[in-house]
Symmetry: C2
């Protein structure tokens, strides 16, 4: 399956600005993207990075500087025009993605398969319906269900913590440290981050 | 399988104190527990509520006012002493739990099966090893992996967004509204809560 992996390369991960420097955020975002690409290609699927500027990656890169929704929808239209039967869209910040989690997404039946993200998001999609289009603005999981319904497409959802965990905020780093299996976790460990316990609660701290 | 469902009845859900009144928090906690019990018993498993005080529930209730870890471990010891081959422990605030999600937990092989919770927690356990004990303090998922390792038990983990989502904080209510299928969601809707979108981001609001 062709799988789009959208990656914002300018000002990535702004909600981590208090935790990581701009160059660190960029490096960490690239490490997460590498993990996602590896999870996808590990099962013989074909990831394609959809980046806002030119970037090095272990997959073909298409540059489209338009907003996320516009760029993804243009790529979906191109893929179906080119004869695709199914197209995946997997966010580049799913640092817990594993080949097994990605397989469950790709192997789930349905015209439209959605992997919800925490906080009303949609972290991954497979569409086998050529008319389905994304809208990542707002409560996207609700909007995607409605959009599929409006075109008469069956929707199924994948129940995955790994796919539901996009890494946006400092607290999310704990998930990467505890459950990540790839480069993003390694990057955090090398940068001095660890999960520590204070007053009985887990928190993320950084060694000096 | 016998499945323990620990429920704190005094001062439940304190982190929702700014959002729900004390009586509302109690009612909402009971609705979530009812959903969890239904998800478990829907597949012919036998839930048993382990409550800090007497409470009405659609399952047998054992009262144990000791701290969570102590009470759960005493119940595990009792169950294995009584001849159980396997015992489950499922938190009462997993408002997204469905029979399918619970089935995946119960049907996963392993001496110890863990369902991670967001924020380093452990939201559900199945132990087939009579010596495994819980410790819900701190980064419990890490501690549970180590505890299983120390007794030579194989650990497997269940990748489930539904089981990873315990409902503690106001933002978690969005998950219940968008993904819940039972009484907890209904309770929130009846109480006037909805997911709305402001500045492109989803948030939970309450009608007056």
């Amino acid at each position: 399956m062709d799988v789009l992996v959208p990656l914002a390369t300018d000002e990535p991960k702004t909600r981590l600005a208090g935790t990581l420097s701009p160059s660190e955020r960029s490096a960490f975002a690239r490490a997460m993207c590498a993990d996602v690409l590896e999870a996808i290609s590990g099962r013989d699927h074909d990831p394609q990075v959809l980046a806002t500027t030119a970037v090095d990656a272990d997959a073909p890169v298409t540059v489209d500087d338009r907003p996320l929704t516009t760029a993804v929808n243009a790529a979906l239209a191109d893929a179906f025009d080119g004869g695709a039967d199914a197209v995946g869209v997997v966010m580049a910040d799913l640092a817990l993605a594993t080949p097994a989690a990605v397989d469950r997404l790709f192997e789930t039946d349905g015209d439209v398969v959605l992997a919800p993200g925490r906080g009303a998001g949609t972290n991954a999609v497979v569409t086998r319906h050529p008319e389905f289009r994304t809208d990542y603005h707002g409560a996207s999981i609700r909007d995607h269900r409605e959009a599929a319904h409006d075109i008469g497409a069956d929707v199924t959802e994948v129940d995955s913590f790994r796919l539901a965990t996009d890494v946006d905020e400092p607290a999310d780093l704990a998930e990467v440290l505890l459950h990540g299996e790839g480069r993003a976790r390694e990057w955090l460990v090398d940068a001095g981050f660890a999960v520590t316990v204070a007053d009985g609660r887990a928190e993320v701290t950084r060694a000096n």
